[in-house]
Amino acid sequence: MAEVLVYVDHVDGAVRKPTLELLTLARRIGEPVAVALGAGADATAAVLAEHGAVKVLTADAPEFTEYLVVPKVDALQAAYEAVSPAAVLVPSSAEGKEIAARLAVRIGSGIITDAVDLEAGDEGPVATQSAFAASFTTKSRVSKGTPVITVKPNSAPVEAAPAAGAVEALAVTFGALATGTKVTGRTPRESTGRPELTEAAIVVSGGRGVNGAENFGIIEELADSLGAAVGASRAAVDAGWYPHTNQVGQTGKSVSPQLYIASGISGAIQHRAGMQTSKTIVAINKDSEAPIFDLVDYGVVGDLFAVVPQLTEEIKARKG
């Protein structure tokens, strides 16, 4: 059976959920061979094996942290040459997309980004994507070279499928470009204890209607009652009420959780582009004419300062 390379997104050996979803998709088109780089790469093997990786190729070198992106491309290319896979799958993070893109041009292959589903086809893997603010669904494939495909989080279930997961060291030679962009400083983002926005099963977002940074507390409380991530519209971010890293929309993050709760968000096209693929959509807004209500499964026309706290209380009561 053909092998499929899966690029592993991990933090010091802790594999992030989108990679486990990739393993589910990879098994539809072949045998997953995982590529884990950097500190803790060896520690990823157990969980990757549990989810179907027949092999785990690992490499660590200071270059991976001291320079931007390119050393990881060199390593993924080394894995590609060692394996001759039927496809290369990479999580659709900002960095993942850059790694995949550079690999694709190097190996003379087409690239598909932000796939939301993947299946085997007669002419190679077929990827489902959303276009035009998710108003269209397209099916595409790579017609030249080995398909390189990046996949959005929450695109497939995480499924256990025990496999050998034998760890093998990957030999990597860094090219001249690998050391082109130096990382001269790094400030880790402080953990909020909440799930990562793009990976979360539930996202609770606030917009212009939240009317001030000090009021985002009620959005956070609702999120915490549901174990959700907090998002914000561009209006709220531009006003300085919430960090840009939490922005949902065309120029922020694209999310497709099981449940999306929009509070005080009118639903401009740019916001819709980032959340329209959410499975269930709920909105709370004073303005009954707000375009967000065209998308919702359940909407409450009302003052979020009354509705949201009541909802939070009710959730807490029900959860006991």
Binding site: L68, V69, V73, A94, K97, E98, A100, A101, R102, A104, V105, R106, G110, I111, T113, A131, A133, S135, T137, T138, K139, S140, R141, V142, S143, K144, L177, G180, T181, K182, T184, R186, T187, P188, R189, T198, L226, H244, Q250, I269, Q270, A273, I281, V282, I284, S288, F293, D294, V296, D297, G299, V300, V301, G302, V307, V308, Q310, L311, I315, R318
Partner: protein
Amino acid sequence: MSLRIVVCVKYVPDATGDRQFTEDLTVNRDDVDGLLSELDEYAVEQALQISENSDDDVEITVLTVGPEDAKDALRKALSMGADKAIHVEDDDLHGTDVMGTSLVLAKAIEKAGYDLVITGMASTDGTMGVLPAILAERLGVPQATLLSEVKVEDGTVTGRRDGDTASEQLAASLPALVSVTDQSGEARYPSFKGIMAAKKKPVESWDLEDLEIEADEVGLEGSWTAVDSAAQRPARTAGTIVKDEGEGGKQLAEFLAGQKFI
């Protein structure tokens, strides 16, 4: 010293319009107004700021690949303050994917001559966000991408990249490629004087022959990916909408419980 900056911009269909696919599954550009991609305005702005903060002689060239109408995007950038423009236009470019577009841009950038290439973080139509990295790979120069702050000094570009898990400071020697996010600083509006001055600025037109690119390397034929189908998402079935009369939060909780979210 002089610094040559090439800013890559894209002419995109207005996102607030009714965007559709044509029969060959390319984007229908006929029925929708186009404009300079908003995210590329940030790239033009950063080029202008680098120029304003530099003691060097800085020349800013804006470059686009696209149909005749794409000149509108160049004119907007020129009226913001760029010095000159290059328009790559060729009938054979219809349906070109990101690999083909990056090839055309790379050849045009090399022909124009450059020390620094600046792009937006993504186009507002395709929203792939991979072109800057591919372009850096093709040009063989360092990529300092997704920057929310940019500075150029003594032949080095530095900047801040805000990632999911960390905020990184980057440094690369010129020549280099930079992409900037919408956090890099509001783009200026063209002044009346800028709009008048833009009319006199040079706009060069190049075709594939000028760039020594064969027709089969680009366009739908040269595309490295194929779109097999495009279907409009079925309209969402009308949801339940209630007016809050004191119990809105409780009613919503009831709905969420029914959907097993609580």
